[in-house]
Amino acid sequence: MIPDTLTRSLAEICGPGGVIVDEDRLLVYESDALTAYRHRPGAVVLPRTTAEVQGAVTAIARHGLPIVPRGAGTGLSGGAVALDGAVVVGTARMNRILEIDAANRRAVLQPGVINAELSAAARPHGLYYAPDPSSQTACTIGGNVAENSGGPHCLKYGVTSRYVTGLTVVLPDGSVAKLGGRGREAPGYDLVGLFVGSEGCFGIATEIEVGLLPLPEGVRTLLGIFDRIEDAGRAVSDIVSAGLLPAAMEIIDGPTIRAVEDSVFAAGYPTDAEAALVIEFDGLEAGLDGETARAAEFCRRAGAREVRRARDEAERMALWKGRKKAFGAMGRIAPDLLVQDATVPRTTLPAILKGISEIGKRYDLVVANVFHAGDGNLHPNILFDRRDEDELERVERASKEIMQLCVDSGGTITGEHGVGLDKKHHMPLIYGAAELDAMWGVRRVFDPSGVMNPGKVLPEETAPGWPGHGEGRGAAEGEGAGVAEPAVAAMAPP
């Protein structure tokens, strides 16, 4: 619970309908889509404008409470979880598209606009918004900015940060900064690029300018069915080596295929296959058939038992539905799911996939893989039941081994889900003290008092000034470190 005086000021700023303090209603906000981490916020405030965000941030900070920005809560790293009774600033009521500027292929919108709604609004102008996270029918653009979200079509078109050209942000001290804006060219430091992917630690974006693309004229979708997942990985690598640039290349492994086919999302994949590879090309009609035929040939050569081509839009949608709803379908098999998100160099895919499967076998766990193969962005999901303590321990050990395997191959710990709460303790796997120190420094540039989404992204034991931190560069830098940091050990393990 938060002090009554704060409740009253927030209600004055955002209207009585804009503040939630009721315990039952707060339950909705206790986790994001990674439900292993649950903490009920002290309150939720839902501003409608930049000025209301400013007011809310200032009022919360005055009471010394931490602030957690939140979009639709579809994140997969615990980034929107409110630790220590923090107040959630939700963008649900900031859902207006302010401008679709078709002549310049750009749009300006509030952060609560849903990803798919932006593309729908741009469609009459022959345009669309390229980054398409699997949650695109629910997730918000503000959340996409915070996480630098990807999606299947980022293979060809790039991730969120390529499309964000300007931001209006409310900083933790309540001031407003305009970063970039009105097109791609902005002299000076790329503060827009720095802000994108900062996971709610630098401030709250209240207006977002993005670039739009012309809708492609044609689309072709292929499905390769494989008896061995390594062969599907090899097909991906061969297609890219040959100079083809599909819009998307996605692998769905055997356990996932069976989960999907058993569910309401059944897409018609053969249930005895060990991998399905979805390949999509888009662009001008001329040339699409040739590229698709070449990709099909690479699949066959890599050992595909069957290559299907979606004959119409309905078949295409079915193929994608199976891929996009895979996470939901897996929920049917086991009560709990540990979602990983490492990215590895594409050429290491066959070896890594084999390695993951071996780790799964060694720990007697079901590991289901559904991922952006073209980018080398893996999502090995471990299925388990948290009530089984022995299994829980095996899950933790297997998950660490998988992460280490990916990092050792030259990869990274997260390709698109973000670090959040879930992966902050893995950060030292890829960054040393100097890099983490630099990230702390940049965080403090935006948030000197440490009120913005504390406890996320950076492990607090690496903070300059934190007891035991070896690389401290003077006491001044360390002042205030850890003030708002929660006790991590108390976190429920996934």
Binding site: P187, G188, D375, A438
Partner: protein, 422 residues
């Protein structure tokens, strides 16, 4: 404060054959009066130089091949010591099937192209001067050229960096995979920071397959016709890779404008785009270049700005081209200049040389240009200009504000790195 001996203390950390002083140093730096040019060969040497500079209060100017050192506008009044990364040119990692490459910052463009070409790959960076410079120099400048409409700007294609910060810390940020959201995006912060935060020593980049077909159509006519063609190219839904409009001789003769449209893709697709685009424009191109001819044509264009004493960059949303173009033509008229406008990106560049007695008038025109372009939300940057002109018109708009200053002090607390940024 620097002393007379401070630069010497930094320079003596390297053997004499990797140090230029006196006239040789100035010549290497395009005429800028620098005290020395140093050529470290590994990251440890760069660190040692930066640390010594902090100890002795010596100003450092990070550079690659030094292409932009003559451009003017560096902060600091003292001469400074150039640290060139040109000899950090090792190719550390290149896996063609991953479409990624890691190399020392000094890897030159020609050497890079020679490595990539046999594998049918390229780094489609056509920012001004990139083809004459180094990988690290291009990242530090962080510019964009017309191809960024298709491939993204340089900042969209840098995967990882190794940098020595202004206070001598070694950072390895990002990685060598194409999707990476682990931690804050310091790679984007350092890309385009023009050496003001640190010396870039190693770079990992994303490569692209070289498209099967490379075609360039050239449309010619007067300025009004050129603007019409440009509008058609800007609003087409056809996949055009890049498009520029050139105006020569101030634009008054009626035949001085050409629109250059580049199309990349499979052979079938590229031919189709060209024929459909010509139909949309309502005219056949004056000429069409294919394959190597098209490639060489654009490679030459990427050093278009070289050696011009004045280069101005006016940027606004593409549909504000009337404003940017009007001022570009005013500037061109006073500098006997030429114009190259990025039709898809909305960036209009002018290069030229003012008459000896024309600098005051040019500065006045530039001030009015800045006011008008900024009024429509655009920007004006002087890429290269005489000091007298820049002192009046300003190098770039805006000051950056408190965030920028705090970032600068975070990485270069002793302010040893000279730069035009922030």
């Amino acid at each position: 404060m620097s002393t007379a001996t401070a630069p010497a203390a930094v320079a003596q950390l390297l053997p004499g054959n990797r140090v230029l002083t006196g006239a040789a140093a100035s010549e290497w730096s395009g005429g800028r009066a620098v005290e020395a040019v140093l050529f470290p060969t590994d990251t440890d040497e760069v660190r040692a130089l930066v640390r010594e500079a902090n100890e002795t209060g010596t100003d450092l100017l990070p550079a690659g091949n030094g292409s932009w050192l003559d451009a003017g506008g560096w902060t600091g009044v003292r001469g400074g010591v150039v640290v060139s990364t040109a000899r950090l040119d090792t190719l550390f990692h290149y896996e063609p099937a991953d479409l990624t490459l890691t190399a020392g910052a000094g890897l030159g463009w020609r050497k890079l192209a020679a490595v990539l070409e046999p594998n049918g790959q390229w780094l489609p960076w056509d920012a001004p001067g990139a083809a004459a410079g180094t990988l690290g120099g291009a990242v530090a400048c962080g510019g964009s050229g017309p191809l960024s409409a298709r491939y993204g700007a340089i900042r969209d294609n840098v995967l990882g960096l190794e940098v020595v910060t202004g206070d001598g810390r070694l950072l390895r940020i990002g990685g060598r995979v194409v999707k990476n959201v682990a931690g804050y995006d310091l790679v984007r912060l350092f890309t385009g920071s023009r050496g003001s935060l640190g010396v870039i020593t190693r770079v990992s980049v994303r490569l692209f397959p070289r498209p099967e077909a490379d075609m360039t159509m050239v449309f010619e006519g007067g300025v009004e016709r050129g603007l019409e063609v440009a509008r058609a190219v800007r609003t087409t839904s056809l996949p055009v890779a890049a498009a520029e409009m050139d105006i020569r001789g101030g634009g008054a003769s009626g035949r001085e404008t050409r629109v250059v449209v580049r199309v990349l893709g499979s052979r079938e697709e590229a031919e189709e785009v060209c024929s459909r685009l010509a139909a949309e424009i309502g005219a056949a191109p004056a000429g069409t270049m294919r394959g190597g001819e098209s490639d060489v044509f654009h490679r030459r264009r990427s050093v278009w700005e070289e050696r011009s004493p004045v280069v101005v960059r006016l940027a606004a949303l593409p549909d504000q081209v009337a404003v940017t173009m009007r001022w570009a033509r005013e500037v061109a008229r006073r500098t006997r200049g030429e114009i190259a406008a990025d039709v898809l990106g909305g960036v209009v560049r002018v290069k030229g040389s003012p008459a000896d007695d024309g600098t005051a008038e040019l500065a006045a025109v530039l001030m009015r240009a800045r006011r008008d372009v900024e009024a429509v939300g655009g920007t004006m940057t002087l890429s290269r200009a005489p000091q007298a002109v820049a002192a009046t018109a300003g190098w770039a708009g805006g000051g950056g504000g408190a965030l920028v200053q705090r970032i600068k002090s975070l990485f270069d607390p002793g302010s040893v790195l000279l730069s035009r940024c922030p």
